[in-house]
Symmetry: C2
Amino acid sequence: MLKDLQYIKQTLAGHGLKVTHQRMVIYQVLQETDTHPAAEGIYEKIKKKNPSISLGTVYKTLEVFVEKGLIKKINTSEGNMRYDARMDIHNHIYCTNTKEIIDFKDDELDMLVRDFFKRKKIGNFNLKEFRLHISGEKIDPGKHIEIT
Amino acid sequence: MLKDLQYIKQTLAGHGLKVTHQRMVIYQVLQETDTHPAAEGIYEKIKKKNPSISLGTVYKTLEVFVEKGLIKKINTSEGNMRYDARMDIHNHIYCTNTKEIIDFKDDELDMLVRDFFKRKKIGNFNLKEFRLHISGEKIDPGKHIEIT
DNA sequence: TCTTTGTTGATAATTATTATTATTTATTTT
DNA sequence: AAAATAAATAATAATAATTATCAACAAAGA
Ligand SMILES: [Mn+2]
Ligand SMILES: [Mn+2]
Ligand SMILES: [Zn+2]
Ligand SMILES: [Zn+2]
C-alpha cells in the first residue's frame, strides 16, 4: 500500500495541518508499517535518511496527529505508547512474547458486540467505542500469525 | 465487602508469600477499593496510618503480588499502571473524562466472544485471554455508572 | 519587505517505575 | 536462647519514556 507524496500532503492539509517535511515523513512511516511502532522506533527509522530530525519533534508531531484524528495512540501492557495509522475501528492481538501488535478486524464480531450493547445499556455513560484486546503467544515466533 | 485480617493472612500465605504488615495493608487497600488505583494512590492511602512505608515497597510488593497471581496489573490509556484485586476474568469501562475504571462482567457477552473464537481460529497463536475495553464518558460525573 | 505566527531542534525537566544497598525483621540452625 | 541465615523494607539513586522550554528557523499574511 504505497502512498504517494501527494496523498500524504492532502491528508495532512485535510486535517488542518501545515505540510512540513517532518510531518510528511513521520506520517509516511506510519502508513508504510503495520507494526504499531513506538515514537523511538519511528525516530530511528527516520534518522537514517534525515539525521537532523529530533526525537522531541517526533513525539510532538505524533501528539498533534492524534489530536487531529490522523492516527491513534495505543498503550501496551509494558507501559509505553505505540502509534497506529489505521483509523477504522479494529482490534489488536498482542503477543506477550514478541511484543508484536497485530491488527484484527472482523465484521461479524463487531456486529455481535454492537448488538449486545444495543440490548445491554450502561447508564449515565456515553459509550464511545469498545475494543477487544486479545493476548497470547505466538507458537512459532519466526512465522506470522494468520487469521483464517 | 470487609475482609478480616485472618482472611488476608491466609490469602497471602496461600500464594506462597510471607505475611508482613506492609503486604497485609497493601492487599487490604486493594480489596477494599474498586477504583483500580495506581501505586501512588495506594501509597497515599496507606501513609496516613503507616507513615513509615516506602513507595518503593509499594511498587515492589504489587509486582510480587502480580507474579504470584494475587492481583492484576492493568494499563490505562494515559500510560500509567493500575492494580486490580479482582481476579476473575472481566472487562473494564474507562471514563476518558474522570479517568475512572469500572468493572464490567457479563456472562452472556463472555459466551458470545468465546463462542466466536471457537469458530474463528487464529493460526500460529496460542490465545490466552481477551478483554473488552469499553471507553466513553460519564454523563453526570457526580453520579455512578450503572449497568442494568 | 516587515510582521506575525507556527514549527523545529536542542536541551532541560518531569513522571512513572525499577535498581541498589544498608538496615530491619523474620526464620532456621546450633 | 543465641548465633547465623535469609528475606523484606526504607531510603535513595538510577532509568526510561515523555513532556516542557525556548531560541532559531520557516512559512504566511499584510
Ligand atoms: Mn489499531
Ligand atoms: Mn480488572
Ligand atoms: Zn492497528
Ligand atoms: Zn477490575
